[in-house]
Subunit: 157 residues, 4 copies
């Protein structure tokens, strides 16, 4: 079975980047780190890990994209608060704010499209923009590195 | 020279507690942990350390009090956002929101009274309610434990 | 340029295994962890990391082999002391004792063959038994995982 | 009940110090760290913690003494191997080798006198040379610091 192409990101505002589409990242391995700025495992594990990924690999090989998928406590985690968080925690990779669902449900659009269970979640895309793994919670560096290494070994599309 | 009695806390709202005065804690050693909910060293070090202090000592011997001294990014760290933070990070000791200064300056009232340099700061009061140490930044557990141990060894007033 | 085939291990005694040759591991990715039982970076970092590698991957995919390359303090790190170390630190992967060089030099035979700079060193072999990376010192899990992932992605020989 | 005076150390060889008696340390708080050089919790926790204690306090206030209480694998942990360990792990506080029991039992003399359960063990003496606490296993820094702080607060004898 072929891996699925990744759904488009539906983002209402970007930080640290011009508006970004996954197509712009074609040819690179992509780590999408879905998080909430007041989720403890995101703050202490997911985001620092994504920062390590950003530092380890050349940006031409691996792109790191944050996705702020707020599904609880929306009032405390709006875009302005997120701007403060990103600045204080020195997050410099592109971060998109997942668009609230138009029916008013608490789970935002992109989070639904990717069928994420919660935060932090890690989605890895191959160089052809297809979803190759999706994990929820805390993943150790050895396991994440292995997944990224496997995808880096594949030839560009 | 005698240690100074601790200035009163000027708090506009309490979490995890009825309104609290330092006099209520007379007879106990008190750790006041001044923090901001989006300050990285507070989130990764200061607050977890205050939680360890809370867990290690009987509450009749050592009282832990958080003080939310917001002096920057005020819009992102209001009381409602703080409520989310405390809930998500399972902070169960009393936390007071430092009162904004009435002249509109960015440093809140209690933070001025205690002449704090920034966050996280740790203030230790002896059983008689006097300031015995005030530190700024990251303090290791061995050093903090020593200071608390010294104060615990003093007879009740 | 083709990667070099790994030199044979010259081992005078094996722990946790029958005598082992690299050919026996053909088809698997191999991590050779060169260490000394009284080298601090080996004890606190290299060996625990090799244990994590052993736990993460199926043994049919990745083989972990320890190589005790004693080049200093030989009297304190003989095979009997090593047996104690392996037992106490619960090292269960195969460990070979590098053979002392016959001219009496302090650097043992396999360590010379692999031209290692010191301990800990990490040598990665691909499924065809060829050296694909050789690192000295502390390597973080993300980087090591990436290298292993790249090799796992290659087809069996 | 008065705390007991600490039994004398029965040491067959000292490292990093001239022969040392507890009386020489009178007036200081003393941490005796009992360890074995191939005991994992000693190597990864007990000894580094004792090194932190040594660094934190002035040596005129707190004395740190290691006691090598070998009760298993004696052949792998003789004095020469210990010398290598102390040098490699940069242990610079005085370390005494507990004297083997003359009846040939596996538990050495001082370890018996202090009735220690195993390694690592931490024994704290007050400024008057009396045992004030004895713990076995892993003790966190906050708890150890508290105990030391309490003893430091007591007046010299």
């Amino acid at each position: 079975m072929e891996p699925a192409p990744a759904p488009a990101l539906d983002v209402e505002r970007w930080f640290n980047s011009e508006p970004l589409a996954l197509d712009d990242l074609h040819g690179r391995v992509v780590l999408i780190e879905a998080f909430q700025m007041l989720c403890p495992a995101c703050v202490t594990h997911g985001i620092p890990q994504a920062q390590r990924v950003q530092q380890l690999y050349p940006s031409t090989e691996v792109a790191v994209v944050g996705l702020h998928t707020v599904f609880e406590h929306h009032d405390s985690m709006g875009p302005d608060a997120l701007a403060t968080y990103l600045s204080e925690f020195r997050v410099t990779f592109p971060v998109g704010v997942d668009r609230p669902h138009e029916d008013g449900g608490r789970i935002p659009t992109t989070m639904r499209r990717y069928d994420l269970q919660g935060t932090p979640s890690q989605i890895l895309l191959d160089r052809a923009g297809r979803i190759r793994s999706k994990t929820f919670g805390i993943v150790d560096d050895l396991a994440l590195g292995t997944r990224i290494g496997r995808l880096l070994a594949e030839p560009p599309p």
